[in-house]
């Protein structure tokens, strides 16, 4: 990112925090009962501090777009929506505390947010016990499973099974069958690997090794010589954020891109900007959204333009956009139901067929997983200031067959 872009970010961050602060000050002074009158409150815990601060700020921006649109179009019978931003510090304990604060103290109508598997499960555990609706906007397979799921739980984000499956179906037919996995040692990492394996069965892939690295590793050099010795067609790096950036950088330094194709389940837009073109060059991965699809998708164009107008010409990131859809679905369902009561909004959510920014989506009834398209993208060697960093090389259309079945998840 350039110097100017950097300044830009920090200025608007201050503005966001100031805005958030202003909206936070009020709830402390009085404890309003969750009345049908008054504003519709959307609690929004995201990791403003910590390594995903930039992502979280983008989530806030996108959520603000959804709130503004809802209020401009009359709200719910005149009731306006407001966003209560909280910092979950990327820590499940802190997130649970913030969720308790939002639900018990601020009496929010909905909770939307999170940017980690562990954090969303923590928030979900709090909200479901209190019958408050929660829409998770980060990836996890666990939250779909019967043990963690509740009727109050929605999952707007992709899940690892869908994402890895889509990327696998593209990569295995194109780059080869001999595969080595480099996987972060936690549930999200294993879930991604399982997704690839499930998709790989049809292609008869051969797994040469599944190498687990500790979460938050800063050096992969000790793992790379062995991977080179195995001579796979494809190296699948199933980790996230900074782990992924460092792994890609070091794999590039070790000259591995010349020997094999590198594939990652998710390529983050902000991560690609932060790590630069060199490390990501030629890497193929999946995403829920890339702003560049506005050329072909009308709803993406409308959303991007609105986002640019509200936020100084910036374009929305993938995880940011999920926040837009996560907030908007609740508000639209509430409008359709004519109420914010959980029991009234649930059926309205289940009935939604929406195309807010990326093409058609809907929530599957059994696990409230958003069925949607997955885009296969390839990082390109764009100059440093260019926001157009990916090519969309394929689209995995929305299809329930690409999800685990309701029985597999334990839903009856």
């Amino acid at each position: 990112m350039t110097d100017d872009a950097r300044k830009f970010t920090s200025i608007s961050r201050r503005a966001i925090v100031a805005g958030a602060g202003a909206s936070l000050a009020a709830p402390f002074s009085f404890n309003i009962a969750r009345a049908q009158q008054g504003n519709i409150k959307v609690g929004f815990p995201v990791p403003l501090t910590g390594p995903y601060g930039a992502e979280a700020q983008d989530q806030v921006r996108a959520a603000q777009v959804a709130i503004a649109e809802f209020n401009e179009t009359g709200g719910l019978k005149g009731r306006m929506a407001e966003l209560l931003v909280r910092d979950d510090k990327l820590n499940p304990g802190e997130a649970a505390t913030r969720a308790l604060e939002l639900v018990e103290g601020d009496k929010v109508d909905f909770v939307v947010g999170s940017l980690s598997a562990a954090v969303q499960l923590a928030v979900n555990n709090v909200t479901k016990a209190r019958k408050v609706l929660y829409n998770s906007i980060s990836q996890s397979d666990t939250i779909n499973e019967a043990k963690d799921f509740s009727p109050y739980t929605f999952h707007e984000a992709l899940n690892p099974h869908m994402t890895a499956g889509a990327v696998g179906r593209y990569a295995f037919q194109k780059f080869g069958k001999k595969v080595v996995f480099l996987t972060a040692d936690y549930a999200y990492g294993y879930e991604m690997v399982n997704g690839f394996q499930a998709a790989g069965k049809a292609f008869g892939i051969e797994t040469l090794a599944d190498i687990r690295h500790p979460l938050g590793a800063t050096d992969f050099s000790a793992l790379l010589p062995r991977i080179q010795a195995l001579k796979p067609d494809i190296l699948i790096i199933s980790n996230f954020g900074r782990d992924q950036q460092i792994a890609l950088k070091q794999a590039t330094d070790f000259g591995m891109k010349k020997q094999m194709k590198i594939v990652a389940p998710i390529l983050l837009y902000t991560g690609r900007l932060a790590a630069g073109a060199q490390a990501f060059d030629g890497v193929v991965g999946g995403t829920s959204y890339y702003w560049g699809m506005e050329k072909t998708t009308p709803s993406a164009k409308v959303f991007n333009d609105r986002f640019r107008k509200m936020h100084d010409g910036k374009v929305p990131s993938d995880y940011g956009s999920l926040a837009y859809a996560g907030v908007k679905t609740f508000l639209m369902a509430a409008r359709a139901a004519g109420s914010t009561a959980s029991e009234a909004v649930i059926p309205a959510m289940e009935a939604l067929k929406y195309d807010y920014y990326k093409g058609p989506e809907y929530y599957r009834k059994c696990d409230h997983q958003s069925v949607q398209s997955v885009f296969i993208i390839e990082s390109k060697n764009a100059p440093a200031n260019d926001p157009d960093v990916f090519n969309i090389v394929a689209t995995d259309e929305p299809n329930e067959a690409n999800l685990r079945t309701c029985q597999e998840l334990g839903h009856t």
């Binding site: 304990g93 505390t97 308790l100 499960l121 936690y186």
Partner: protein, 332 residues
């Protein structure tokens, strides 16, 4: 070990107990006064969940202070005791269907068992090495729980510690209600305060302080110093394990972060902020720390700057902590 005193009581607290006047009265009834503060605390806390968190971390800091403040031993591995209490309480509840009160007992006992294991290994080392060995061993505990995914949920944390209602002496309490949850958990914290106060006022409490003030003299007086340190460590583990168990019931989850070394550092900060070696100081430290963090993080994402600065100022200008400094002023 013999606990009879051979010479006069060397400890500070014993002198304090003979003190006359208002301060002396307050010291004699320190546990009751602290309990009174805890009972009215929800009225002034910003929100109930934070009040409960302060209770939990306050108890954690009290347990840590038994070792750090009273015995003068710095441990950097207390997250292992706190986290083990939280996890085993949660595991007893989720996997074995234990009633909530039994799960709490399991948590406290687990804290003591883990403390006994770490203590047995580490107690031979001294000073900064003790801090480092406890840190290393707590990292091993972290890893153990991290890898036992089937029992602990691994990185996702343990979910489902959902206590919905509590039946007690014919009462039917709604544990999801924030205020009820506060007072149920407060009962355990208050009981701990009385137990801790009793321990500190006992001959053993005097020995602990004697070891801190002058180890050679304590040894010469016939005390088995390593055993004193060991017992204090295990007792500390009991309080910290209990605090962990209360955290599990409060949040209804156990995050893996409870075992992280940051959680060990946190309790050191809280104790120091409030005043180590004072009875209620660590509790005050936990309250100030969490409220400060809560307040500052509302208006800036750079809350760590303020917290870090407050900490540095405290070390430089209030080495006895805020509560400790206040007490010192009152004594004059």
């Amino acid at each position: 070990m013999t606990l009879e005193r051979t010479t006069g009581r060397p400890a500070r607290s014993s002198a304090a107990f003979r003190e006359a006047g208002a301060l002396g009265w307050a010291r004699r009834h320190r546990a009751a006064l602290a309990a009174a503060v805890i009972l009215v605390f929800p009225l002034i806390a910003p929100f109930k969940a934070l009040a409960v968190l302060i209770l939990v971390y306050g108890l954690y800091a009290l347990g840590f202070n038994l070792l750090f403040g009273y015995l003068g031993v710095l441990s950097f591995g207390h997250s292992a005791l706190f986290g083990a209490g939280a996890y085993l309480c949660g595991i007893a509840f989720v996997h074995f269907g234990a009633p909530w009160w039994a799960a709490i007992i399991v948590g406290a006992v687990s804290g003591m068992i883990v403390a006994a294991i770490i203590g047995a290994l580490a107690i031979r080392t001294r000073g900064i090495y003790f801090a480092m060995v406890t840190l290393a061993l707590s990292q091993c505990v972290y890893y153990l729980f991290y890898e036992a995914v089937g029992w602990t949920g691994g990185e996702n944390g343990l979910r489902g510690v959902d206590v919905k209602t509590i039946d007690l002496f014919g009462l039917h309490l709604d544990f999801v209600d924030p205020l009820t949850r506060y007072y149920v958990l407060a009962a355990f914290v208050i009981a701990s305060l009385f137990v801790l106060s009793r321990i500190l006022a006992s001959p053993f409490g005097a020995v602990i302080e004697a070891v801190r003030e002058n180890e050679a003299r304590a040894r010469a007086s016939g005390y088995n110093v390593p055993l004193v340190r060991f017992v204090a460590f295990v007792l500390s583990g009991g309080f910290c394990g209990l605090a962990g168990a209360l955290l599990a019931l409060h949040l209804s989850i156990v995050p893996i972060e409870t075992l992280h070394y940051d959680t060990s550092g946190l309790v050191v900060m809280m104790s120091l902020l409030g005043g180590m070696g004072t009875f209620f100081g660590p509790f005050i430290g936990a309250a100030i720390f969490l409220m400060l963090e809560n307040l500052v993080s509302l208006w800036t994402v750079h809350w760590q700057l303020i917290v870090g600065a407050a900490f540095v100022i405290c070390v430089l200008f209030f080495p006895r902590g805020l509560w400790g400094t206040l007490l010192e002023r009152l004594e004059k």
